[in-house]
């Protein structure tokens, strides 16, 4: 995926300025940067959730219509955006991931239910499907939201801060699954804030701060010198 000269404004405030980055297919890429650097914005702009004021995005698949290639990306937004009081069970929420493949009128049937159960089990929530979503712990809920994206069975996954406020066990389950699916050729792009795990989790890294961007293999980019530049302080790993 090639992002060229992307700029995004929130009202009059410029969040991303002329940013270009290339994301390699079949890799797990971490997007790292200080708070307010525009990490989530970059993701949302690619997904079409916020308008780009300039820039182009080219997909490796060669598909030119954004409406079509956007459906090849499954997205996990930050967890706060979920309405926990909504009358919906964990199973039904995860099954929503099958909707894009169903077309305009078709309802989820046996195949979709089996697919949903399969991914619920993959995130180790196989027996909690009938609970209302607020009856899950933070980590369990995050796994359910990840399962909803995995059910889409797309080639590319965008995860926005998937480990924020998540317990160690859930983080491990999610990361194992990411690695597992990556071996099957899936591409993952993850907004991440915990610098201590970057080297273990990612193949490639994008360091971002508004109009400044560096990207490449983790060993080349994630260096003390670059971090000092991006975070404005000495950070050692």
């Amino acid at each position: 995926m090639e992002i060229s000269n992307l700029s995004v404004y929130y009202g009059k405030r410029r969040v991303l300025n002329d940013v270009s980055v290339s994301i390699r297919p079949g890799k797990v890429t971490g997007i790292i940067g200080p708070n307010g650097a525009g990490k989530s914005t970059l993701m949302k702009a690619v997904l079409g959730l916020i308008p780009m004021s300039s820039g182009t995005i080219t997909m490796d698949s060669g598909e030119a219509d954004p409406k079509k290639w956007r459906l090849t990306i499954a997205y996990v937004p930050q967890r706060q955006s979920i309405d926990l009081t909504f009358p919906i069970t964990v199973f039904d929420m995860v099954m929503m991931g099958t909707y894009p493949s169903l077309g305009l009128f078709k309802r989820p049937g046996k195949a979709e239910k089996a697919q949903t159960q399969k991914w619920l089990e993959a995130v180790k929530l196989g027996d909690l499907g009938q609970r209302q979503i607020a009856a899950l712990s933070g980590g369990q809920l995050q796994r359910a939201i990840i399962a909803r994206a995995l059910v889409q069975e797309t080639d590319i996954f965008f995860l926005d801060e998937p480990f924020a406020g998540v317990d160690v066990v859930s983080e491990q389950i999610i990361m194992d699954l990411v690695r597992d699916m990556n071996r099957q050729g899936k591409t993952f792009v993850v907004v991440h804030h915990d610098l201590s795990t970057v080297k273990n989790y990612f193949d490639d890294v994008v360091l971002l701060h508004s109009d400044h961007i560096v990207y490449g293999e983790v060993g080349n980019v994630f260096t003390g010198e670059q971090l000092k530049h991006f975070y404005g302080a000495e950070i050692n790993f």
Partner: protein
């Protein structure tokens, strides 16, 4: 049980019963989406906003259904316009639209001096329901049920998680106005039954009652329709027997059911604690 023998005997009472049951079903279905999307106040505003449309229809000599519907949709567009173009908070813009349309409607109806009684438009007069009203209500209720069933997936996901709905390629703006149109149509056919002032209660009270009793959206819609029917029938009984405004009796019935559900709902942890 004089009421039941009267139903057998009087055609106007049969029409009133069928119409109120239809209104109960349709507003329960739409109302479920209204409360989950936080549009209760918006529903209230649209129901008040149809009033000038009723008056203008009389002036022009057209069916009140057309004028009221167009007027309601116009109000929905106005509210959307204000909140898009200005930093005014949405409850403020809703309040302005609601009161100004109601005020305009009251002036116009008084000026027109139509045969329609303002009191009946405001508070409902179900016993005056005509065959024409009944058929309109039937069409709108069927339309609501069919469209909600057809687009249930899109409505569910966009009500629950708008961001995710957008990544699924769903145009959430279209869904919003689609619901607004259905809401307006339902409001207009409820005019005769519950009246402008109390329509919002028919939309939200049975739906809120249903919400307290289930964790599944599809079940909530069915329950809301059921509670809508029960309150309509009980309300009609009291309206007919004691010569009371039908809107008021129907809404009080719906509220009694809400209170019972409120006390016994596991969601409120009032009597029954939620099992963890």
């Amino acid at each position: 049980m004089e009421f039941f023998s009267d139903i057998m005997n009087y055609r106007f009472l049969q029409q009133a019963l069928i119409t109120s049951v239809l209104v109960g079903i349709g507003s329960g279905v739409i109302g479920s989406f209204v409360i989950l999307r936080g549009m209760s106040l918006m529903g209230d505003a649209i129901s008040h906003a149809v009033l000038p449309g009723v008056a203008i229809s009389f002036m022009l000599g057209i069916d009140y259904f057309i004028g009221a519907t167009l007027c309601g949709i116009f109000a929905a567009l106005c509210m959307g316009f204000i909140s898009r173009k200005s930093p005014i908070k949405s409850d403020t813009s809703i309040g302005i639209i609601l009161s100004s349309f109601l005020a305009l409607g009251m002036i116009l109806i008084t000026v027109v001096q139509s045969s329609t009684n303002l009191y009946h438009i405001l508070f409902g007069n179900i016993l005056a329901v005509t065959m024409h009203d009944l058929i309109l209500t039937l069409i709108v209720t069927l339309l609501v049920i069919i469209l909600v069933a057809l687009f249930y997936k899109q409505l569910l996901v966009s009500s629950f998680d708008e961001t995710i709905a957008q990544t699924y390629g769903i145009n959430t703006q279209v869904i919003h106005y689609f619901l607004m149109v259905l809401l307006t149509l339902m409001t207009v056919v409820s005019l005769q039954t519950v009246g402008v002032i109390l329509i919002v209660a028919m939309l939200i009270t049975p739906a809120a009652t249903a919400y307290l009793l289930t964790d599944k959206m599809s079940r909530m819609i069915v329950l809301a329709a059921l509670f809508g029917i029960i309150s309509s029938v009980i309300g009609l009984y009291f309206s007919f027997t004691y010569n009371l405004a039908s809107g008021a009796t129907i809404v009080v019935s719906a509220t009694v059911m809400f209170c019972i559900a409120f006390v016994f709902s596991k969601k409120n942890q009032f009597i029954f604690k939620k099992e963890q």
